[in-house]
Symmetry: C2
Subunit: 266 residues, 2 copies
Amino acid sequence: MSWQFDDETTLTPTGESRFTTELASAWSIGENLNGGYLLAPLLKAMTGISGHPHPLTVTTHFLRPGRGGAAEIEVEPIRSGRTIGTVRGRLSQGGKTKLESIAAFTDLVTEPGLLEIGIEPVDLPPPDECVNRRSLDQGVVLPLMDRVEMRVHPDHAVAGHGGEPEIAGWIRFTDKRPIDPLGLTMFADAFPPPLFSKLGFIGWVPTIELTVHVRRVPVQGWIRGHFKTSETTGNRTIEDGVLWDESGAVVAQARQVGLILQGAPS
Amino acid sequence: MSWQFDDETTLTPTGESRFTTELASAWSIGENLNGGYLLAPLLKAMTGISGHPHPLTVTTHFLRPGRGGAAEIEVEPIRSGRTIGTVRGRLSQGGKTKLESIAAFTDLVTEPGLLEIGIEPVDLPPPDECVNRRSLDQGVVLPLMDRVEMRVHPDHAVAGHGGEPEIAGWIRFTDKRPIDPLGLTMFADAFPPPLFSKLGFIGWVPTIELTVHVRRVPVQGWIRGHFKTSETTGNRTIEDGVLWDESGAVVAQARQVGLILQGAPS
């Protein structure tokens, strides 16, 4: 079986700790590649040298927008421990750094701990009663919706409704590729900015930095997500997200800081 | 005027993008240096080459515990933009990497934005009605309390009280050094693990990764902090923190992932 997400993030080794990949513009929002997709081949390469199977915490700085075409990847192991492996990496296109990332890896399959504290899943109607994101006007073309299927809470599906700056919805790969921790890191950056839900398409909210904490290997099915703007000051905004699997367990948490740039994307 | 935090984090340049510093064991918790203090000279060096005055988002991986004595620092500019500068850095002792960090810098002094969303300050009695952390038994010696003064909410001052895994309190430098964004990044890692508040001294909760988002330059006075364990699965725990200044404005947010290791620290 061949899956789009894997076929379109393949790595070709070109030297010690160096790879190239061919990015597919199918994963775009407007002109630019989705950040979670752009991260995927880099995170694959980083996982490969980490000595551990799963990302635990992944911080990425988004330096410049990514486009379809060739990209160069460079990774560096920082520490290889028995429980945790730490790696940094960089993805470039045409000699310009697009992403700089640091991540710790572990084996997420563990025994129950001393104390389990969960987060109650966000309230969300079943996927069939939610709104397909493809049918929403978001002010840009969304080729990404051919790769990722998203069903948005009906209350959050009207841009500029003036309610809370939040968005809840279901997400999965369009070709139903199984969801693993790498897929979760992509989904953690695939929801529309919650500020749009409140204010409408006020402009552009480029991510400066995104940290994703993967918590569990998910059971298969839809992933439930909830993203909200937790705090905004000046033109700097913080967005918090949680992803759950169909068992109701938290599978990832995400936080990002972005800039609010009013007007058309440049 | 000379302040302990500045005197004990001085940098000596030793080459292009290289420095040494002399770490003071006065900033220890038990045998090991506090992580926020360990980060301070590294973040100073990173700020210096960023082209901007303030850290906006700082991610640090804690690879090995730090001890008093000499440390080597190496920094690398990643991107210098008009609004944002991105830098990575590494702090080592005796040839072993202790910290690996990546941060984005900006000028935090800005005009009001399109939308201001704050976080209500945590409820906390005035400092004089809180418990001095120095008087709490935390299972380790706390030289750090000669450098940083902390007053803990009376409800959270009994380890193992079995309530919520949270801790609220006031914090400032003991010598009343003014609090700037660098000081905030130190305070974001200075509170005891909220799990201890609930469960008692169950062992050791080493931080794998900590991300601090600085939100504002604080007005001077005490800083109010609230740290809670938001989610725990297996031996992996996520802790969320917020810091406010005396005006009630959020000045920093922090999230870290740690391991719960039962028994004595090794």
